[in-house]
């Protein structure tokens, strides 16, 4: 007799991998609320809500790079900013996060909780009516502050009292036991607001559904202005002045180790008072103060922008009576997008992946006008689909034994034409048949059209190229044996 035993994976109980849309964070240190996202709301004393959806791809990217679970990514970051005593609940609706956070704080819970995990979901289902009603006190205050349409505190309290009496009468211990009651029936019996709260408590959707969200405004982003005493148009002079401006900008950050810049706006006023706005953008979050005193990375990007701008202005104004290289008379540099990244994130990042210092490569890449090309193999015999380009530092997704796939490419060239070039039927050259290949013929209506016969073509000079013939007899050159 076969006996199968299912072992419960603790990691699965602790953390699912669905990306949560909201986080409620209780932070006794009163640190910045913009740690996980630029979109936040102040809910109470030391209690903030974050909308993570706005930077979902950034966090998913970090998670992929670090090859860890979401909880393992967020926990050290939150510890770095808020110390050991924070409570953070991640879920799909702010009300569910607040409700569960309220429960954890009242039970001296500490740390990070993902509502997607089975363990937390099970605890969430056991929350009693007292917890549900108590959490509504702060909500009522917010609805009053937000001047919510149709909300009256006295009427809401009387509806709450009515609902409490009803629950006592029917003897239901927790809201979850009454899950069968839909929001409409609660609305009919106890009013619009309790109906909405009921809906928020059990919704699977990430929409706010009338939740009173008031976005917390970010403090003014750093910026510096420069009025030039005389017009300048040579990069050598501009570079010196820009370096000074970056130093001033850096002072505005108080040299905070967590501040990283994604984009800066450089607004230039030209000699003819025309204003031009250009953007200095960084492929990877850039730390200005770590680049002190030279600011090489920012200056390289500014140089590329300057060269491009000068070229465009020359092309546009070539026939006008203007200076050959248009001078600048003033400019303003302003940070328009920044992100707080704990050093812990970067340290982890640098240690990963067999000691390859990706941080150094990314810092170098920030100084270049082009990105590095990085590739990984894919499980396909079809040449164009046998590999994919990936961003620098990305760990290989679903590692697999690539030998059977890559060995099929052993006799193919190192470089190929991304757009195969049509050629004449090569009659006067030596042809060596390599393989017959087909790309997902079962998906195409005309399966024969996807079949290709691959050859090495060798001309009379001994030069080899890689070509294929379709079933229609057309020839295409796909690569060169460089």
């Amino acid at each position: 007799m076969n006996i199968t035993t299912k072992v419960i994976d603790l990691a699965e109980l602790r953390a699912g991998d669905e990306f949560p849309v909201y986080a409620a964070i209780y932070n006794p240190e009163s640190a910045s609320p913009f740690v996980l996202s630029p979109t936040a709301m102040r809910w109470g004393d030391n209690l903030y809500l974050n909308r993570l959806d706005d930077c979902k791809f950034f966090w998913l990217d970090q998670k992929k790079k670090l090859r860890c679970k979401l909880a393992d990514l967020f926990e050290p970051l939150l510890q770095h900013y808020y110390g050991e005593d924070f409570v953070a609940v991640f879920g799909n609706h702010p009300w569910q996060c607040l409700l569960y956070l309220h429960y954890q704080v009242s039970h001296q819970g500490r740390g990070l909780y993902l509502l997607e995990s089975r363990l937390n979901r099970n605890i969430f289902r056991t929350l009693d009516w007292e917890c549900w009603f108590t959490a509504q006190q702060e909500l009522a205050e917010h609805l009053i502050a937000a001047n919510a349409r149709g909300f009256r505190a006295d009427s809401f309290q009387s509806q709450q009292a009515r609902m409490r009496r009803f629950i006592q009468r029917i003897g239901v211990a927790t809201p979850h036991e009454m899950l069968a009651a839909d929001a409409n029936s609660i609305t009919r019996r106890f009013g619009k607001w309790l109906g909405l709260i009921w809906q928020w408590s059990f919704t699977e959707s990430s929409g706010l559904q009338g939740f009173p969200w008031i976005k917390l405004e970010q403090e003014q982003l750093p910026g510096v202005k420069r009025d030039l005493e005389y017009p300048v148009n040579q990069w050598e002079y501009i570079e010196v002045l820009l370096r000074e401006d970056f130093a001033r900008l850096c002072d505005q950050f108080y040299q905070h180790d967590c501040e990283h810049i994604n984009r800066m706006l450089w607004e230039i006023t030209l000699f003819n008072y025309e204003k031009v706005s250009v953007e200095l953008s960084f492929r990877h979050p850039y730390s200005l103060h770590r680049d002190l005193p030279g600011f090489d990375t920012a200056l390289y990007q500014a140089r590329y922008i300057y060269d491009d701008l000068v070229r465009n202005l020359r092309a546009r104004d070539g026939d006008l009576d203007l200076p050959e290289s248009m001078p600048f008379i003033c400019w303003q540099v302003q940070v328009c997008e920044r992100v707080m990244l704990a050093p812990a994130l970067w340290e982890l990042f640098a240690r990963e992946f067999d000691q390859i210092d990706y941080q150094q490569i990314m810092a170098l890449q920030n100084k270049l006008p082009l990105a590095f090309e990085c590739y990984q193999s894919d499980a396909s015999f079809f040449p164009e689909k046998s590999f994919t380009r990936i961003p620098v530092g990305t760990a290989q997704t679903n590692p697999f034994d690539h030998y059977p796939w890559s060995s099929s490419a052993a006799n193919k060239p190192l470089f190929y034409y991304q757009q195969a070039e049509p050629i004449e039927n090569p009659t006067a050259v030596q042809k060596v048949f390599l393989e017959r290949n087909s790309n997902q013929w079962w998906l195409s209506e005309d399966a024969l059209q996807s079949i290709r016969d691959y050859f090495i073509l060798k001309d009379h000079n001994g030069r080899s190229s890689w070509a294929y013939r379709t079933q229609g007899g057309e020839w295409f050159k796909q690569g060169e044996f460089c």
Binding site: D296, Y300, F353, D354, I356, D357, Q360, I361, L364, K367, L368, P369, L370, A371, F372, E373, C374, Y375, Q376, S377, P383, S386, F387, R389, V392, H402, W405, S406, S407, S408, A409, A410, N411, K412, P413, L414, F415, Y416, Y417, Q418, Q419, E421, V432, F433, L434, I456, D459, N461, G462, R463, S464, S465, G479, E480, F481, C482
Partner: protein
């Protein structure tokens, strides 16, 4: 009885012996800068040291790039291959099939690498830099690249899309080699400058996986 000075005691001798052994150990582990795993090829590159610039003559269509590629297979440091071929992109599967670790080898496309990618040469992030058939590469660029390579202990491969000749020399290169696939069964290397001279042949089988249709 005269006493032995402290530095001649047994313990001290033992320490000196251990120290000598560890020195020998270190020396024996001083690895060659460029390794391919092919004995004949490794002999040719035995004297290459950090800071060297090696110039290769590899005309297109001759499959000669498989030779410098062999030197990028054995546990390479971070390396970058700067290429510029009209309309051609990297066919990554082929590189992987030749055993190149694409987590350590990065690519970037540039026609004028010294002007466009100056920061790469100013930093020591990459210990191997391969400049493959640049469209623009002046003598000044060559002097700059070789000076930076010496300063930062990098090894630079400069691949030309034509065969090199002794008539037109290159004072910055420590080695100058032409390579090509000769026929179906071997690869040839012709040494123009460096400790070796003449020409050697490597069997196709040692460089690439044999293909029964082709050979």
């Amino acid at each position: 009885m005269a006493s032995l000075p402290a530095h001649f005691t047994d313990a001290s001798l033992q320490q000196q012996l251990q120290s000598a052994r560890s020195l020998k150990h270190d020396l024996s582990h001083q690895s060659q800068e460029l390794l391919s795993g092919i004995d004949a090829l490794d002999e040719c590159f035995a004297r290459v040291k950090p800071g060297d610039l090696i110039e290769w003559g590899i005309p297109p269509g001759m499959n000669g790039r498989l030779i410098p590629l062999q030197l990028l297979k054995q546990q390479i440091p971070l390396s970058v291959w700067i290429y510029h071929h009209h309309g051609l992109g990297v066919f990554a599967s082929s590189w992987i099939s030749h055993g190149v670790d694409l987590q350590r080898l990065f690519f970037i496309c540039s026609a004028n690498p010294v002007k466009e990618l100056r920061p790469i040469f100013l930093e020591d992030t990459f210990k191997r830099i391969i400049i493959d058939a640049p469209l623009k590469f002046s003598t000044g660029d060559m002097a700059f690249v070789s000076q930076q390579a010496r300063k930062q202990g990098q090894v630079v491969f400069l691949i030309r899309h034509y065969f090199l000749t002794a008539k037109r020399g290159n004072p910055h290169a420590s080695l100058r080699i032409n390579t090509w696939q000769s026929g179906k069964r071997s690869f040839s290397l012709q040494f123009i400058k460096g400790p070796n001279s003449g020409k050697i042949s490597l069997p196709y089988r040692s460089v690439a996986e044999d293909h029964e249709h082709y050979n």
